[in-house]
Symmetry: C2
Subunit: 145 residues, 2 copies
């Protein structure tokens, strides 16, 4: 039971954690400086904006990897902030449909250039185009299923 990890796997594991932390916190720091929406809020709004027909919380949960109780409360806050609208789901009375509001669209749009610039700075500019594609492909394999 005293398993071994190859050096390569150990290194990839450590760096996966470190690199994500480094990039995300740098991006968030830039965003905060610019006074734009938190990343999670942005992600939710972006998903809602691409699904004008409405989104069920559990879908968001799966797509964005939220814990159920966290998402529930995140939505509360976003509703309070006027960025998201909750409606009873017509086909399932347990559930609800979520929609982005006009204010939500406006704020998401205003946040976008800041995130784009930050991601370019902290990720895009550190790799060549080919390397970036390779990285995305490899990370993709870790996500499957």
């Amino acid at each position: 039971m005293s398993e071994k990890l190859s050096d390569a796997v150990t290194k990839a594991w450590v760096r996966l954690v470190r690199a994500r932390h480094a990039v995300v916190s740098a991006v968030e720091a830039d965003a905060k400086e610019a006074g734009v929406l938190p990343l999670e809020w942005y992600d939710v709004l972006w998903d809602l904006e691409r699904h004008e027909e409405g989104v069920r919380p559990f879908e968001l949960e799966q797509r964005l990897l939220f814990a159920q109780y966290n998402l529930s409360r995140l939505i509360d806050r976003m509703v309070d902030a006027g960025l998201v609208k909750r409606m009873i789901c017509p086909t399932d009375k347990r559930g609800q449909m979520l929609f982005i509001t006009d204010l939500g669209k406006k704020q998401r749009k205003a946040s976008w250039p800041h995130y784009a610039r930050a991601v370019n700075t902290h990720l895009g500019e550190k790799l060549t185009e080919a390397e970036t594609e390779k990285l995305a492909a490899l990370l993709g394999k870790l996500i499957e299923r």
Copy 2:
């Protein structure tokens, strides 16, 4: 100011976040099942174990990317649990030296095989050796200063 992100950069960004989340949460779930130390605790103990001469909190902060106030309280908990010992730093009275206790060593050692197995399952087995090395190399470029 309405910057653009290439598709490759966007995809790499999203997958970096998702892949790390998927792998870490799968590993933590396995670890929790086995009733072993939380990942952060493990990381701290491992760092302390490799520096028997003692570690300053701010070093740990830099190496493991902790926020200062989080680390301060994490150490509190670990001291309470008897895994870490705090001593006044002889060369800087503002600071302290941290050491792992025998209990800390024992628990870290007991946790290791579970983490090794989980990391192998959720990362190692999803990539070939060559892919793993390539991934580590690319992630390395994202971390560089």
